[in-house]
Symmetry: C2
Subunit: 81 residues, 2 copies
Amino acid sequence: MKAYVYVSLKKSVLDPQGKTIHGALKKMGYRGIDDLRQGKYFEIALDDSVSREDAQAEVERIAREVLTNPVIEEYSFTIDG
Amino acid sequence: MKAYVYVSLKKSVLDPQGKTIHGALKKMGYRGIDDLRQGKYFEIALDDSVSREDAQAEVERIAREVLTNPVIEEYSFTIDG
C-alpha cells in the first residue's frame, strides 16, 4: 500500500522559491502562467500487514505531527493500493 | 485551470532526506512503514485563456525542461479544472 502526502505553504504565506521559478519561466518565454507555488511531496510505502483504516489514521498523524509545520504549512494525502 | 507537477528522485537514486525521515519515524514509534521518499511538488495556476491541449503541452515542457533534473529525477503531472 502506498500513501502520498502533499505539504504546501498556506495561501497566506509568501513563497519566494515559487516566485523565483515563476519569474524564470516568464523570462524563458512561457506564457499563460498566473502563479506557481512549490511544496513537498512524500511517497510512503506501507507494510501490507497494516489495514487500510490503520494506514489512513497513521498517515494522517505522520502528516500532521511530523511532515507539516502547522504555523505556515498545510497538508493533504491520498492512499492507494 | 490548475496543474500539479510531482518531481521525485529516480528509484535508483539514493534519497538521504527520505531515509532520515524514515529513521526518525521509526524512533518515534511509527510502525508499518517500509520506505519513505521525498520529492517536490509544484502547483501551477494557468491563465484561463489557455486551452486544455496547450496547457497539457506547456506544463509537460516546463516539467521536463525546468523543474526536473533528468539525470536523477523523474516527473509526473495532472491538470484539472
